[in-house]
Every structure is written in C-alpha cells, then in structure tokens.
Amino acid sequence: MALLNNFTTACLRNFQGDRLHNQLFFVVRALHKSAASESYGMSTAREEAMAERLITPSDAGVKTAVKTLKDMPGPSTLSNLVEFFWRDGFSRIHEIQMEHCKKFGKIFKSRFGPQLVVSVADRDLVAEVLRAEREAPQRANMESWKEYRDMRGRATGLISAEGEDWLKMRSVLRQLIMRPRDVAVFSDDVNQVVDDLIKRVCILRTQEIDGATVLNVNDLFFKYAMEGVAAILYECRLGCLEDKIPEDTQDYIGALHLMFSSFKTTMYAGAIPKWLRPIIPKPWEEFCHSWDGLFRFSLIHVDKRLSAIKDQLERGEEVKGGLLTHMLVTKEMTLEEIYANVTEMLLAGVDTTSFTLSWATYLLARNPEVQEQIFTEVTKTLGPGVVATADDVSRLPLIRGLVKETLRLFPVLPGNGRITQDDLVVGGYFIPKGTQLALCHFYTSMDDENFPDATDFRPDRWIRKDSTDRVDNFGSIPFGYGIRSCIGRRIAELEMHLALTRLIQKFHIGVSPLTADVRAKTHGLLCPSAPINLQFTDRKN
C-alpha cells in the first residue's frame, strides 16, 4: 500500500522562496462544494494550463485573486530526476520532504516525469483536504495493481480498488474490524501470539554470547506481526515464531520480501509505459511474481477454511468462527473479493506493525528513564506478571502514548496521497480536480509548532489530564483520517499494545553495543536503515 503513496511524496522540490506569507486573502470557495466539476473524474496528471483555464473572475469570488498552480513554487523536472535517480532520493524521501518544506514553504508542486504532485505540509491544510473528502476518496494511481489483477482474473481489494467497488468492500469490512470493541474480541488470540514472541526472545538471546542480545529485532517483529495478522485473518497459526517455519509460510515470506526488496523496480513497473516492457521486462515480471506468491498463500488459507465450513455444514453442525468464517458464510463479498482483501490486508499489516515495534523498542532502549516510567505504570496498574487484555489498555495511557509517540517520530507512511475529486482551493492556490496531492505527515509530525521539542521522545505528551484535554491534532495522523483511513488500525494497535506491555513487563530492554545510532530510511515505508540489535534482560518480578 505504502509503495505508491510514498511514490507520490517523492517529488518534493521547489525553486522559489516561500510565497505563502507574502499576501493575500483568498477565498476557499471550492472546498467540498466545488463549483466547477460535477463528474467523478479520476485523471491523474494535470497541467497548470488547465487551472488557468478553469479560473474565471466569478470563480475567484468575493475578495482577492486565487493563485494558480503556475504561481506555486516547485523544482524543475530535471532537478527532481537527478535527486531521485542519481542521488537515490527514494531512500531519503522523508528527508527530502523535511528539507524542502523548510526551504520553500508548506505547499509546493513538483514533477515526476509526467506526474504533477502538489505537496501539502501544513497541519491545518492537511485537515482541510481530508475534511473535504467525498464518499470514495482516491489515494493514488493504482493502475499497475489493477492491471495485474485483470490479467490473472483476480478481484481488487481495499488497497487497489476505487470508487463504487472500493466503497462496497469497505462498507463490509469496516463493520467487522474497525470498531475497537469488535477488535477487542481478538485479545486472547493475539495474546497467544505474544506468548510465542516472548518465548522466541528467550530462545534467540541464548544464541548470543552475552545471553541477552537479539540481533535485528525487526526480523522477530516481522514474524510476530505476520503471525498476529494471520491468526485474525485466516483463523489459524502459521508457525512463524517456531524454530522451523513451515514451507508454505516460508514461500510467502519470500514473496513478501520480494515485494518490498524490489520496491524500486516495482515502482518503475507502474511508471514504465507498457510499450517499454519488452525492452525492460524485469520490473513488471518481479511485480507479477511477487503478487503471484502473495495471492497463492491467501488462496491456500481461505480455501482451507472454506472446505472446513462446507464439511461442517454437510454434517449439519453449527458453523462458528472468526473474521474469515464470517466473510465466507455471510457472502457479503464474492470469494474473489475475499481472496483479494485478505491478500492485501496481510501485505499491509506486517511490515507496518513490525517497523513500529522495532522503533518502539529501540526508543525504549535508548531512553531508559522513559522505559522505567512505563514499566512502573504497567506494574502498578496490572500488578506484577498479570497479562494485559484489550480491556486493560485504557488503563495504560503510557502504553498508548508510546505507540503514538513512536509513530509520530517514525510514521511508517511518511506521506500519504490523495487525488482530488473536486476543484479545491488549498493554501490560496486553485487546485483542479484530479490533481495528485502528497500529504507530508513526516514534516507535520516533526514540526515544533505542532509538537514542542518535536525531536524528543516523550510518550507522556499524549497523556490527557481529563476528557476535555486536547493533546492530538492533524499534525500526527499515522493511520490517516476518515473514510479511507487504515482499516487495520485497531488490529495493529491491539497487536502493538499487547506486545509492548508484555515485553516491558518481562524484560529490561537495552541497546546492544553492536548497535549505534540507527537512522530511518524510506524503502516504501519508513524503516530502520540498519539492523536494530537489542538486549533483553529478565526483570525481577
């Protein structure tokens, strides 16, 4: 999911200074109830010329001139190409976002080949854009995803579908996995996976000389996240945290790694015009190959559950089960739609969770006083050694704060995309319908105006004094906001809250001497640029 979104944030460069502050009252007349366009268009790249044509004196409205995209600062196409292709800008997307927001202001345009992108890095403007959304917001151009699915006769899922198809599936799925109370029922399932995670930590550390270090914790958290999502999605265990991982699971992990390791090439798979494929075949081939692997795995597990249900029905037994069973029995989506959605949800739910857990434990290890503060809260609230459930999390505000603060400092999606579905006026600029926007979450979450001492790791900044105390805002919305926000949010939160609570209860987490400063890099998602090696020492309970 993140691949394309980040692609859109990629194009961040300007050529002139901050013109935002120079002037001008303007009229935000176009937001939401746009005057000009009525149809549900989805064209992607728009030319500035278009904007000029669309602006008429009556559009400009009551007060003063609305500027056009032509007036908006932005880099030359050439400098953007150099930045990304010669200077490996893809792995520094988040840093480039910071540099250029600081240098040029909080709204600017850039070009990536034929694609024009308008970057929005102001908290309030991000809010305006998201609040102006319609019923089926579009994130980015997903044509290559759709093309693969058409070619193989597969359906689209929540990431790749658009418009009415998307809304139909979203309406079904959000009723199943978006409400916190619906997700809380998975608490025991997730806790069983946490049991295995803890056991795995204990096994792995015995393999190191100091008896404490776990090398590259992300590898461990990747398996935890995959096991956790699968336990919920497939209603079965995969064995990721066992000594010997079953073969089909290993194949899947291979496909997933291929999907992410070939991030750049799969990016190009979408960007390279079809007629060039015979000359440069590799990106598209790898793209298809990794999708084949991902779909194959989902098919195995969905079919397994389906045949079990059929057997039960034939025997006249009552069919009971969790999420997948519900989907298969109620048939609110077709079988192909179920395949597509579990495939895309598993893809979206593994790295995202594992990177966040890696950063959270890294930050805890680097900030022992914060770790003690959270340990104290957990112990006082739960009592020594008591396993937390979903219902306990509300009594552990620092655990919630830890996840929020980790995602503020390291938002897995440093930027998100939107294709405008109305003519909008954002930050004083007229932006025609069909423009690709990049919402710069990394910048807004590191902005001192939004979060004082923004580089400090302070989970307690999220603690509320009472229910009218407001501590959050559009500056840090790691799961997005609104109708197209992350559908797996509550599942991911549950997995992270329960895992972190237990890790903090059981271990003192320290940085291994093998690990120096670990910086973030963008590889589709914002991820650690080097292995994070941590020491897990038993707490005395």
Binding site: F26, D124, S171, V185, V329
Partner: protein, 165 residues
C-alpha cells in the same frame, strides 16, 4: 454528481442494512470471539422510544424518536435527517463527522468517553468542551428529551478564513 449521490445513497442503505444485521448478529455473539451464523432471532424492542431534539446547521429544531440501544448516529440515519457529510465512517470510529455539541448538564449525563473517541474528537471541526461523537452515544431513558446541536459545517467556516498558514 449523480454517481456521488448514488454513493451517498448506497452508504445510507448499507448503514441501514447493518443496523438490522447488528441486531441479528449482535455484539454479544461477537464478544465470545465466535459468531454463530445459524440463527438470528431479533429481540423485539420495547416501545419505550426516546425523544431527541436535533438542531441542524440552519438552527432549526428537529424532534425525532429513537429506540433505546440505538446510537444518535443510528437515529440520524433511520430518520433520514439530512445533515450533510454526517457519519461518514458509519460509526466505526475512523472519522469525527458525527460530531454533536451538547449543553453542559446534558454532556455530563452522557457517560464516559473512550480513548478512541477522544482521539477522534481531537480531529473534529469546531470542537467544544461538551462535544461528543453521535455514534458513541446510545439512547437510554435517562437522556429523554436532550438537545443535540450539529456543528457548523467545515465549508461554511472556510469561506471567511484567511489563508496565511
């Protein structure tokens, strides 16, 4: 626009379907972690309807009745109240478009606010100290006759806003 209208209508229809469905496969079935799919006897709701007064964005008072257990969002949907953009995520705590404002004494009667609701309220437009999300407030006899005000819409406010950000 036509297509968008269709979407909106579709969303409403779905929500209504869900409201019915949620009565059949209720949260209690879900809470065990196991859903049963063979039966669905809907319990008859009592006739003890609860009266709610909404004040819409034009300042008009609209008085409707809802069944105990329904949320204020359910009432808005069931009664076809036309509050533009209200309840976009269908009560799944992913947005804050069912934001409602209450008088202080009423607010105190509405019961505790969950963390997730507070997080979403933080993102609500025109937030006040007595704001709640309509999807999180269930009708009970104790809130009979309350007044719930729909905040001004985002677009209306924006037209007078200056853009220096």
């Amino acid at each position: 626009m036509a297509l968008v209208t269709v979407f909106r209508r579709l969303a409403l229809v779905r929500l209504r379907e869900y409201t019915r469905r949620s009565a059949a496969v209720g949260p209690s079935a879900w809470l065990t972690g196991q859903r049963s799919f063979t039966t669905g006897t809907q319990t008859l709701r009592s006739d003890n309807k609860v009266t709610i007064h909404f004040i819409n964005r034009d300042g008009e008072k609209i008085t409707v009745k809802g069944s105990p257990g329904d949320s204020l969002l359910d009432v808005v949907i069931n009664e076809d109240l036309d509050f533009d953009g209200f309840g976009a995520c269908e009560g799944t705590l992913a947005c804050s478009t069912c934001h409602l404002i209450f008088d202080e004494d009423v607010y105190k009667k509405l019961g505790p606010v969950t963390d997730e609701e507070m997080d979403m309220l933080d993102l609500a437009y025109g937030l006040t100290d007595t704001s709640r999300l309509g999807c999180q407030i269930c009708l009970t006899k104790s809130i009979e006759g309350i007044v719930a005000r729909v905040p001004e819409s985002v677009a209306d406010i924006r037209q007078s806003k200056d853009g220096s950000s």
